[in-house]
Amino acid sequence: MKPVDPRLFRTARSSAPHLAATVVLGTATAVLVVVQAGLIATAVARVIERRGADGLTPLLVGLAATIGARAVLTWATEVVSQRASAAVKSELRTQLVDRASRIAADPARGGRRAEVAALAGSGLDALDGYFSKYLPQLVLAVVVPLVVLLQLLRTDLTATLTVALTLPLIPVFMILVGMATEASNAKRWDALTRLGHHFLDIVEGMPTLRAFGRGTAQADLVRESTDRYRSTTMATLRIAFLSSLILETLATLSVALVAVGVGLRMVDGNLDLRTGLLVILLAPEAYLPLRQVGAHYHASAAGLAAVDAAFELLETPMPSHSGRGAAPTHRLSISFDGVSVHHAGRDQPAPDTASLTVQAGEVVCVTGASGSGKTTLLSLLLGQRTPDAGRVTVSGFTDDSEIGDTMVADLDHAHWQRQIGWVDQHPYMAAGTLAQNLRIARPDATDAELVAVLHCAGLALDPHRQVGEHGEALSAGERRRAGLARALLRGAPLLLLDEPTAGLDAATEADVLRAVRAEAARGVAVLMVSHRPDTIAAADRVESL
């Protein structure tokens, strides 16, 4: 984590004008801080020297105006930083979701749904602290000391030198401290996350724990692990806070040094009251923003951690679809030749050197134990992943030419995708009507065509019926048949079916299989995965993995 992450500003282009405004506002604030100190010092000195309110009015008016202007600047800074935060979050969120949805289409990496949702929601919201507190403070930390030093230079050289010499020590110390504690901070953060995760796991699994009489025992385990964490953390904190003690003391002592020095020189008559007051008002202002920037940095750490997680996702390489070749549009055949795919955490590839073909107009059913790689075979054809060994090729015809065996990776991805009808085990359904969900496959389909494909898929439902959130208003069997109807609507030369008849009664299964046979009769190549004896029996060939 860096204090200013350049990736953040490169990626979120909308942040530039806001950043500029923050700098302008910060500079104006710094100038007003100096003006205010000057007015107060003059006013106090004048009252003391003249023993009364004589000549005070213009100074008070000036003071009121300055503070009024500072109030407006405070408000404006807040507005600008919140806008910046909202704009950057929105931009990052859009990019994140765009990338995540493309990664989610890849089954090997799709398991990060909850993580992405959390990140796009509350995760990025943690950036508010970064934009509304840390960044404006960072600007002030640079601008205020400069302006203050310039002003001090005009009034008192000795004080200026004291401040100018001690001031740089603070960032230097902060960097040293940061380097010394960064590793332990990261470890602590990691442990804290793990503890939180462990706690959630216990709360979620409580019925199970209780059923085995382990409910109360867990409370002791939670106490033990959190206590252990507390004692190790306090050990690191003692050192981490020690460093900020040094910083704080350094800043305070520098101010004290200036104040005492000024006082002594005034006793000697080398300095007038107004200058003395101005110096002790301004000197702390030079240190204040620098000290606060450290505090705000910690407050914005959560936001920066979220940004790190977001960039990790944004920098995940995408499956490259660089192929240019035209895909066959009819009489399409496919062939797997010695195909293996490795999975993380498993010794055996699945599938392991699988070879099979599906000719145009043929129905092939793949069977095998769960985990043998049946669904993976389909994902290879969908272009969601590539084989670690072997070749997946297609052949067939376009309108004007014949296409010989071509690797799936060499095909133009978008064109190839248009040749596939696919029914997943859990077909996607968005809230809306059945018709809306079917037309995803072909937006210009007429109502009559929708009724026809629904009929083919053995589903006698009104296309205008609402399907509910995630298709909840449909039964699992209805949902699967709706998915099949959608695939049929596409009229593609290749049909991929993952457990198309699971959970269906015998009569409905027969309807579905009739529809599948009818597709094959039209010359469509059908590859399906199934366990059901009747479904397997309806295939032309059965391949076991």
Binding site: A43, R83, V116, A211, T249
Partner: protein
């Protein structure tokens, strides 16, 4: 302790400002240096003292915050272990649960971020006011007014705007999350059908709506800080006026005036930190409310004051006139009477929504019966479940739910929780009986392989087998199976159920299910719908 240290630390920094002002103003009168020595020493003492005190305060405060976190978590787990799954009401769903856990963690540093600074500020401000009153009563009054405005009114305005902004944003956020999950779920299909971009742009327009709401709310949220600044200014001007008139009639000397004017500046620096802290209050109050709801929830099932002795020998189960339902809901199943002999396998079959899971929870005494009794029948007598101590009950009965929770730990730890005293041989046998040996063999770390969050490196069937291995290891003579094959495809469901019933032969089993077709033909079936 932390409040005391914090007050001393903040007090030192205010005092530092006051003494410095006095020192300068006094020095201007050019007294002998000796007269300044006390002030010079004081400046140095306050300077060093502030840093040291602040260090001590932070250590104490963080330690306390960790202790609070530990106590809160332990309290929640203790309470939860008496409530879950029966009395948790709306908290049953995963996302709400995650938010609840976040509430607990957020509350733990509530007082480091909000309460401690507030207490410290109030104490230091009061101290400063008292000091000014001694110097010049009118100046004390001015500080009292301006600090009150900055301490109470400014945070109140900030809180009002921030909670209004949250209320306006919430619906757009909710809609966004819903649509996002839908899109991520269907990403593969949407991408295949070329509809992904369209869905993403719909998502973007919701986000755009949220962004506009957020931008609009920014106009209000800076008002609190601006008001704090204005009250400082008003106090400063008023302080100068009263001090000037006091000095004119000799009630105040020069150094006194410098203190009167500059001390409030240091106080306001402290007070200004309250407004940002206050904006977190509405959120924290909501968290506290949700937490109290759980901590104050009454027990779902009362433990017997004097528990009965657990029956021994082979155990059967007797249901007599049993009505089941949720504590504040209707009766779902009525007048169930049934004798299950020791070692017998019985299926209780009924359609979805009939109350089967409620029945299973009642049989496990997670819920009390609406009326009637469940009795454990042993060779030396019978005892109603309601008269057994929790520990005895759990030793006698075990349970496997429709989606058994798999903890993010190793396979061995997940199974061993059923009986931590079990040795490695027994563990191995339980895993083999549940037919997980193949999974173990396929992993590099074998039994000690991590199963992932919610067991997500396993298939649904494998997860149910983990639950079976627990039941096998537990040695409990009576087992309740609640839809153990739900969410599995037909072939896996059949295989898992067959293995379960085989593994549990000799034990008393009550299987609650809606899948009559999966049952072995010779099993005794009770139709709950009849």
């Amino acid at each position: 302790m932390a409040v005391l240290l914090g007050t001393l630390a903040a007090g030192a920094s205010v005092a530092l400002a006051g003494v410095s002002a006095w020192l300068i103003a006094r020095a201007a009168e050019r007294p002998p240096v000796l007269h300044l020595m006390v002030a010079i020493v004081a400046v140095r003492t306050f300077g060093i003292g502030r840093g040291v005190l602040r260090y001590a305060e932070r250590l104490v405060a963080h330690d306390a915050s960790f202790r609070v976190l530990t106590d809160l978590r332990v309290a929640v787990v203790r309470r939860w272990s008496r409530l879950s799954p029966g009395g948790t009401g709306s908290l049953g769903r995963g996302d709400l649960l995650a938010r609840f856990v976040g509430d607990v963690d957020g509350l733990a540093d509530l007082w480091v971020r909000v309460l401690l600074p507030a207490a410290v500020t109030v104490l230091v401000t009061l101290g400063s006011i008292v000091m000014l009153v001694v110097l010049l009563p009118a100046a004390g009054l001015v500080l009292a007014v301006s600090a009150t405005v900055a301490m109470l009114v400014a945070p109140a305005i900030a809180v009002r705007f921030s909670s209004r902004a949250t209320a306006r944003l919430a619906p757009a956020r909710g809609e966004y999350q819903q649509q996002l999950l839908t899109v991520l779920d269907g990403a593969a299909e949407l991408s295949l059908y070329g509809a992904l971009d369209q869905e993403l742009s719909r998502l973007h327009s919701i986000d755009e709506r949220a962004r506009r709401a957020e931008t609009r709310s920014a106009w209000g949220s800076g008002l609190g800080s601006a008001l704090g600044m204005l009250s400082l200014g008003a106090g400063l001007v008023a302080g100068l006026i009263v001090a000037a008139s006091a000095i004119a009639d000799g009630r105040l000397d020069g150094p006194g005036l410098a203190v009167t004017v500059l001390l409030p500046l240091a106080v306001h620096e402290l007070v200004a930190l309250l407004t940002p802290a206050a904006t977190q209050l509405p959120q924290l109050a909501a968290s506290a409310g949700r937490l109290l709801e759980v901590l104050d929830a009454p027990d779902v099932v009362d433990e017997p004051v004097v528990p009965a002795r657990s029956p021994t020998g082979p155990l059967g189960l007797r249901l007599h006139g049993l009505d089941v339902g949720w504590p504040d809901g209707d009766v779902l199943l009525r007048d169930l009477t049934l004798d299950v002999a020791a070692g017998e396998h019985v299926a209780l079959v009924g359609d979805s929504g009939l109350g089967k899971s409620t029945l299973a929870a009642t049989l496990m005494r997670f819920l009390p019966p609406k009326s009637g009794t469940v009795t454990l029948v042993g060779s030396d007598g019978s005892v109603p479940l309601s008269e057994l101590a929790e520990a005895d009950l759990r030793r006698a009965m075990s349970w496997c739910a429709q989606d058994a929770h798999v903890f993010d730990s190793t396979l061995a730890a997940n199974v061993r929780l059923a009986r931590p005293a079990a040795d490695d041989g027994e563990l191995g046998t339980a895993i083999a009986t549940a037919r997980l040996s193949e999974w173990v063999a396929s992993r590099v770390d074998g039994l000690d392989s991590m199963v992932g969050e919610h067991g997500d490196t396993m298939s649904g069937g494998e997860r149910q087998r983990v639950a079976l291995a627990r039941v096998v290891l537990s040695h409990a003579p009576v087992v309740v199976l609640d839809e153990p094959t739900e969410h599995l495809d037909d072939a896996t469901a059949r295989a898992v159920l067959t293995d379960m019933l085989d593994a549990l032969s000799g034990r008393t089993v009550l299987l609650v299910t809606h899948r009559r077709d999966l049952l072995p033909p010779d099993m005794r079936v009770i139709d709950l719908g009849a």
